[in-house]
């Protein structure tokens, strides 16, 4: 199968949910009353609106995550060619030492960033 068939899996997934939800919207009996459409919270009427501004305690985590996630993307191509011997058992990267030193420098800078964030208290839950 070629890679375009990914579209097929997308269509099948949409069809799975769409058909089941469609069936469920038509067949089952329906009834409505004002209490039924209240949010399920404590059993009593809910207070205030839901969509308020609130303190997202992991805002800093999200920023650090972004850095490390981009870093993971950068490390993937390196990881594929790091091993001097390829998956077919043939020597393909004679200059393995250079790749190793490169990743040492890369991770050193990255580690400094992590230590900095740690010392600044960005990794502490407030």
């Amino acid at each position: 199968m070629n890679n375009e068939s990914l579209v097929l899996f997308f269509i099948v997934a949409v069809a799975l949910v769409g058909l089941a939800v469609g069936f469920s919207m038509i067949i089952p009996p329906k009834s409505t009353n004002p209490v039924k459409s209240e949010p399920y919270e404590c059993g009593i009427e809910t207070q205030g609106t839901t969509w308020v501004q609130f303190n997202v305690g992991y805002y800093l985590f999200a920023i650090i995550y972004l850095i490390f996630d981009v870093e993971t993307v950068f490390v993937f191509p390196w990881a594929v060619v790091m091993n001097p011997i390829g998956p077919d058992g043939v020597l393909r990267n004679a200059n393995g030492m250079r790749s190793f030193v490169e990743i040492l420098i890369f991770f050193f800078v990255l580690g400094l960033g992590l230590i900095y964030a740690w010392k600044k208290g960005a990794l502490k839950w407030q």
Partner: protein, 363 residues
């Protein structure tokens, strides 16, 4: 090698050729696509339903109960009965919920897990899509699910849902790093991202054996981070029943709720499959270099049995973890990732790079 006698590629090719020789190329293409779509749909639904049942049974035995045993023999039809019950339940959309996003959310979580399953090699020659960036693709696609969870929580107009979704977002986003970095260890060893090549490279021993200490460490980090990424206990803060009723899917009813449940279990299956494929050799039988008789005996077990056996083992491990440990607090959860797993992973990768450079692993 002996395992090649179970190669399923001739079978799939013969079906392909049969269709193309009996139908015009457009119709043959459509028939083939329909066939694959239907097979995957049934596979997806059956695996999802039986994972729910397996979870309930494992949980029951760990708590010294019997578990579902009324519908069918040993309760084997229980989840199918549940599915039909949920299909026949009314879909409730609560007042003031954001209707469009509320309806879109189940689609996104299902699409994310379904696309991930598409790239898994189930047996030799039984592989729907064999990308040359397989591992990367699975990571990329499965992380789309968090968008669905956030949309579901936000659009529900329920405070529990919103808090659950936000927690879930922080958790999935954090643990994704560890998932990626622990898979990198094996990528460095094998030098490929393609899942079929990765499995073939384990013909003389699985990577967890060949890669010794770093690979074992990476396996445990992967299982921990994978458990957290699928929102399972002891990391199930997003749907901590005692505080948030059901977290982000509190307001969903009937079949929409079922889809969130299904997606959660299929994500677990996906994590277990990736763990089995990358670390435990996928469909590759257990081979020990030098022991010809043993290797030949192992080759008699078909690859598909090996694949499902290993996946079932990892799934059982995850269930065992869930039913053994108490739930973590949010700060403990984030500490575990940022102060333990991430530094361990970074050091592990440097160590693996050195090992590979020096050739200290079992080739």
């Amino acid at each position: 090698m002996g395992y090649q006698k179970y190669d399923l590629a001739p079978l799939t090719h013969s079906i392909d050729q049969y269709l193309y020789s009996h139908l015009s190329s457009t119709w043959a293409f459509l028939a083939e696509m329909t066939l694959i779509g239907v097979v995957f749909l049934i596979f997806y639904a059956v695996i999802g339903l039986y994972l729910v049942l397996a979870e309930r049974k494992v949980c029951a035995f760990m708590q010294n109960r019997i578990g579902p045993n009324r519908v069918g023999w040993y309760g084997v039809l229980q989840t199918i009965a549940d599915l039909f019950k949920l299909l026949l339940k009314e879909l409730i959309t609560i007042r003031k919920a954001d209707k469009l996003l509320f309806n879109i959310a189940p689609f996104i979580v299902i699409i994310a897990s379904f696309l991930g399953i598409a790239a898994i090699p189930f047996a030799m020659g039984l592989h729907a899509i064999d990308f040359n960036i397989g591992i990367f693709y699975i990571m990329a696609v499965s992380s789309v699910g968090v968008v669905g969870i956030l949309i579901a929580g936000w659009s529900s107009n329920n405070k529990y849902s919103l808090i659950g979704a936000m927690r879930s977002g922080a958790q999935i986003v954090s643990y994704e790093l560890s998932v990626g970095l622990s898979l990198l260890v094996i990528v460095i060893y094998s030098g490929t991202l393609q899942l079929s090549t990765l499995v073939e490279s384990q013909a003389d021993g699985w990577w967890i054996i060949k890669g010794h200490i770093p690979a074992i460490l990476a396996f445990f980090v992967f299982v921990t981070a994978g458990t957290a990424e699928t929102n399972r206990g002891p990391f199930d803060l997003a749907e901590a029943e005692s505080e948030l009723t059901a977290g982000f899917h509190t307001e969903y009813s009937g079949i929409k709720f079922a889809f969130f449940f299904l997606a959660e279990y299929m994500n677990m299956f996906l994590v277990a499959s990736v763990a089995a494929t990358v670390f435990l050799g996928g469909w590759m039988p257990l081979h020990i270099p030098g022991l010809e008789g043993f290797n030949n005996a192992m080759d008699f077990i078909p690859p598909i049995v090996w694949y499902f056996g290993k996946t079932a083992f990892v799934i059982f491990l995850m269930m065992w973890i869930k039913w053994t440990f108490p739930r973590l607090r949010i700060d403990q959860l984030l500490n575990l990732e940022w102060k333990y797993l991430l530094p361990i992973n970074l050091v592990n990768i440097v160590v693996v790079a050195l090992i590979v450079l020096m050739g200290w692993y079992i080739k």
